[in-house]
Amino acid sequence: MMLHRISDALFPVAVHGRLLWVYIAAALIVGVLGLAGLMSVPPRYRKLVVAGITFLGGLYFSLEFLLPHQPIHVGAGTLPGSAGVAHFAEGLTNAKPSVADWAMIIGSFALLLGTSNLFAIHGKAVKKRTPGWYNSLAFFISFFAIMIVGFLKDSPIHGLNYHAAHTIQSASTSLYMILFNGFVQNLDATMFSLIAFYIVSAAYRAFRVRSAEAGLMMGTAGIIMLGLVPVGAWLTSWLPHTGPLASLRLESITYWLLIWPNMAVQRAIEFGLAIGWVAMSLRIWLSLERGSFFDRQL
């Protein structure tokens, strides 16, 4: 009881005012100390630490699923200990929202990973004036431009008079819309749509029926390409909508191909993938992966 009170006093649910920053600073210091402790683990134990953490990480969802959530009844009573296990399993389920919060926040901290890589590459290009360095400069300008107007549009700058703050905010909103709707959206959409052109040229110059199996694939593809779009229905619109002949309408053939032969093939692939996935998850979870890379000293 006493211990409980001490721990409540030391670790309150919420702190306010200046004390909050003391707590935050203390937490950061404790965290950094922990990190320093981790960094000083001698090399031969490092692999063990990584394997252990990986295993613990995997334990959460697997136990949450595998443990019984209700006491196991044996005859009139319950299996000794099973009530405790069920209680523990329920606790794991109830922790899901907290786990979601932590996963989302820690995951978001990884956001600068890709960015720092890009910064390194383009920073070097600008510094050394390698050919095309102005492109790298454009990278930096556009990176900061959208980020800054994004922040400015959301929160007014403190310490400015109302009018100036309002003007800046309004201009940022317009610029943000131009950068996002004008540039980001159209550049992304256009980059993606380039593949359509590559399909066109490949269709003419590379897709060859070199074998019967390629022929079977292209034949199926042809039927499905026609049957999915309105022109397919139009091609066989002279067939009746009902009766045995209706099943020969192109859209009916397409649909049958999709829900029977295609479904069977996809399921066969899915089953293979599923088992492969179980195997890969097990190898990762239990750190079983071997090979030159995984055997390297950490």
Partner: protein, 252 residues
């Protein structure tokens, strides 16, 4: 200026969009500097936007606000744990990042028991299709089983495909797989073409009306003609240079 921007931001965005679209499409003629330039702008904007949105929509409401404004001080630990990702750039302590990556990988791997059960048990169950009903249904079910079993047998690796039954079944399996791949091929072509049609929709139904509106201004007419002449000159110069050097450039 601010007011003009606010009133015309939609038009400006559409013009910028058209510029980007054509700038990227120049790569279809030939790999060139414009394309590289727009590509870099895209990477920059996307990265900067990602930082902004992750802060504004995830980290601020879910982390900073509870910690700094609602007094939940223990969220400070999240920053320490999150910083572990960045050890991958250190030569000496790169392994610390393996700890946090390992945790996330383990986290994903531990879900496999639930995912297999919820994801694939219904698939196993629905693969149990009775041979009943009309001839059409029995035929479809038969097709289903022949294809399912043959295609699965193709992916057996620890049996020699010498037994005539396995050999025949595996060979047939590869054939049947082609039907599935054909379906994927057709659907993929459809998807990719849709994206290009989306661009056409933008050019024809968003940008073209803007051009029509601006055509009323004399300066616009002059500018358009000037740009067209310049573009024609540039293309003919490039073509001339290419023919002089006598090299056929490699298509991209």
């Amino acid at each position: 200026m601010v007011n003009w921007l606010a009133a015309h931001s939609t038009s400006v965005a559409i013009w910028a969009g058209a510029l980007c679209t054509f700038g990227i499409y120049t790569v279809l003629y030939k790999e060139n500097k414009f394309y590289r330039f727009f590509e870099h702008i895209f990477i920059g904007l996307y990265g900067g936007y990602g930082v902004y949105v992750t802060w504004a929509e995830v980290l601020y409401p879910k982390w900073w606000k509870p910690m700094a404004e609602q007094g939940q001080w223990w969220w400070a630990f999240a920053a320490v744990v999150g910083s572990m990702f960045y050890f991958m750039y250190s030569n000496k302590h790169a392994w610390v990042s393996r700890v946090i990556f390992g945790m996330f990988m383990g986290f994903a791997a531990g879900g496999i028991f639930r995912e297999f059960y919820e994801g694939y048990f219904p698939q196993i169950g629905s693969s149990m299709k009775p041979f009943t009903g009309g001839y059409a249904n029995i035929l479809s079910v038969l097709v289903f089983y022949v294809i399912l079993l043959a295609a699965m047998s193709y992916f057996f690796f620890s049996f020699e495909h010498k037994h005539p039954m396995i050999k025949g079944s595996a060979a047939a399996g590869r054939w049947f797989l082609m039907v599935g791949f054909g379906a994927m091929f057709g659907a993929t072509v459809m998807g990719r073409m849709t994206l290009f049609i989306g661009r056409l929709n933008f050019i024809i139904h968003s940008w073209a009306p803007e051009v029509a509106t601006d055509w009323h201004y004399t300066w616009f007419k002059i500018a358009s003609v000037a740009i067209l002449v310049l573009a024609a000159a540039l293309i003919s110069y490039l073509a001339f240079r290419a023919s002089k050097s006598g090299k056929t450039e490699a298509p991209e």
